[in-house]
Symmetry: C2
Subunit: 116 residues, 2 copies
């Protein structure tokens, strides 16, 4: 592994697996590259919902727009420059609002390998 | 560990250890919390330089301003919304420009434990 820089334009966004929502993710670094973490960008169309039990620790950094993330116990809302930490094992529902959202994410370990 | 949301205002920034530069970092999640990753924010005053051999994998997301990161082999430059991946073992020089910079970062494993 060596120093790398990424921009949103570098990624190929694909629909988030296991969901019909208009939510897209694209890995830039993952299990194919030999390091411990997956790095990528996500894009949420307006008013989308995704429910998932976290298979890995997932850190989302909001770059644009706004997301709400709920567990049974609480709801957090994040906008540009804010960070949402979704630890492994948490069951979360992620909702985008009318402006949609763009995120950067880091997962440990690799989310695609963990989902099998 | 449970769902958490962070903003820049939540962090206490401290001068980056081992450097006299006007570069500050503040962990929000780290070895004190039992998870695998450290999460935090960084702030770079204008025209600062930091040279470091990475003890951990470090992913920086530029939130504001601009940074250049150089190895012997190459230099990358990143602005808002862009990601710089500095893998463990890389020797890097990070330079801020006239506008300074604000970053979010994720490291695996915990950078403070790895530096000893």
């Amino acid at each position: 592994m060596k120093l790398q820089k990424f921009a949103l334009a570098d990624v190929t966004l694909e629909r988030s697996p296991g969901s019909d929502a208009e939510i897209y993710a694209g890995n830039l670094v993952d299990e194919r590259h030999g390091g411990p973490v997956t790095i990528g960008y996500g894009r949420y169309a307006p008013d989308q919902t995704l429910t998932e039990t976290m298979a890995v620790d997932d850190i989302m950094i909001l770059l644009a727009g706004r997301l709400s993330v709920s567990t049974g116990a609480e709801t957090v809302e994040a906008g540009p420059g804010e960070i949402v930490y979704m630890p492994k094992g948490e069951a979360v529902t992620i909702r985008s609002h009318e402006e949609g959202a763009v995120t950067a994410y880091v997962t440990y370990p690799h989310w695609r390998s963990a989902r099998g």
